[in-house]
C-alpha cells in the first residue's frame, strides 16, 4: 500500500542520518556545532552497525562516541580560552 515505507529501514535511515551529520560537520564552521553534528554522524554509524547485527561492535562504538566527544569538547574549550586570552593581551598591549 505504501511501497515507499519499505525504504524506511534501519540501514536507510542511518545512512540518511550519516549524510546529514557529515554535511553538518562540513558546512558548520564553529567547532562546537561540529561536535554536535559529529554526534549525529556517530549515531548514524552505530545504526548501521546495528543493522549489520554486530551488537558488540555497536556497544564499543557507543562507548567510544562520548569519549571522542568529550575529548573534542575539552580541546575546543581550551582553545577558545587561549584565543580569547591572546586577543585580550593584544588589546592590553594596544592600550598600553
Amino acid at each position: 500500500m505504501y511501497p515507499f515505507l519499505d525504504l524506511v529501514t534501519l540501514t536507510n535511515v542511518s545512512v540518511g542520518v550519516l549524510f546529514i551529520g557529515a554535511a553538518g560537520i562540513i558546512m558548520l564552521k564553529t567547532p562546537m556545532d561540529k561536535v554536535i553534528m559529529f554526534a549525529l554522524l556517530q549515531g548514524g554509524f552505530i545504526g548501521i552497525i546495528v543493522s549489520a547485527k554486530y551488537l558488540d561492535v555497536a556497544m564499543a562504538a557507543a562507548i567510544f562516541d562520548p569519549i571522542s566527544t568529550i575529548i573534542m569538547l575539552i580541546a575546543i574549550t581550551k582553545l577558545d580560552e587561549i584565543r580569547k586570552n591572546k586577543i585580550k593581551s593584544q588589546e592590553e598591549e594596544f592600550f598600553a
Binding site: A52, K53, Y54, L55, D56, V57
Partner: protein
C-alpha cells in the same frame, strides 16, 4: 643551466621535500586509473561472503571457520601449512567465557572470536606471528621516542 641549478638547489631544502614527495606520489598514483585492476580470486585465507554467516544465525559470525575446541581443527588456508604443526587449533579454540557467551546470544561473534583464540588471533599470532612482533615493536618504539621527548623536554617543568 642556471635555472636547473636553482631547481636542484631548492631540492636541498628539507621543508619542500614532503610536498615534493606528495606530488611525485600523486603523479604515480594517477597511473592506477589507467591500468587494469582486478582481484585475483585465488587468495590465501579466503572468507565467506559478507553477512553470510550472520544471516545464517551463526553465533560465531563472522569469524566461524569450523572446528571444535581441543578436538577438531578449524579450516585455515595458509601459505605454508607444512611449517605450521598446530594450524587450525587456535581458530577452533574458544575460551570458557566465550563459550558461555556464544550459548546465550547470536550477536557477539566478534567479541567471542577476538578473545584468545579465533581466526584473527591465529593469523596474527601464529601463522603470521612475526608481523605482530614488528607491529608491537613499532608501537613501542614510537612510544619510547614520544615519552623520552615528553619526559625530558616537552613536559619537563624544572628547568
Amino acid at each position: 643551466m642556471k635555472s636547473i641549478g636553482r631547481i636542484w638547489n631548492s631540492l636541498a631544502n628539507p621543508d619542500r621535500i614532503p610536498r615534493l614527495y606528495a606530488l611525485v606520489l600523486g603523479i604515480v598514483l594517477i597511473a592506477g586509473f589507467l591500468i587494469p585492476i582486478g582481484l585475483n580470486d585465488h587468495q590465501l585465507y579466503p572468507r565467506p561472503e559478507p553477512q553470510l554467516q550472520i544471516n545464517a544465525q551463526d553465533p560465531l559470525a563472522p569469524y566461524d571457520r569450523g572446528g571444535v575446541t581441543f578436538e577438531q581443527r578449524g579450516i585455515v588456508k595458509a601459505q605454508y601449512p607444512q611449517y605450521l604443526p598446530a594450524i587450525g587449533e587456535i581458530t577452533a579454540y574458544l575460551s570458557p567465557i566465550a563459550m558461555g557467551v556464544s550459548g546465550t546470544t547470536l550477536y557477539y561473534g566478534t567479541s567471542i572470536y577476538s578473545s584468545p583464540g579465533g581466526l584473527i588471533d591465529e593469523i596474527l599470532y601464529y601463522t603470521r606471528g612475526f608481523d605482530t612482533v614488528l607491529e608491537s615493536s613499532i608501537l613501542m618504539m614510537a612510544f619510547v621516542i614520544a615519552s623520552f621527548i615528553a619526559l625530558n623536554f616537552t613536559m619537563r617543568r624544572d628547568d
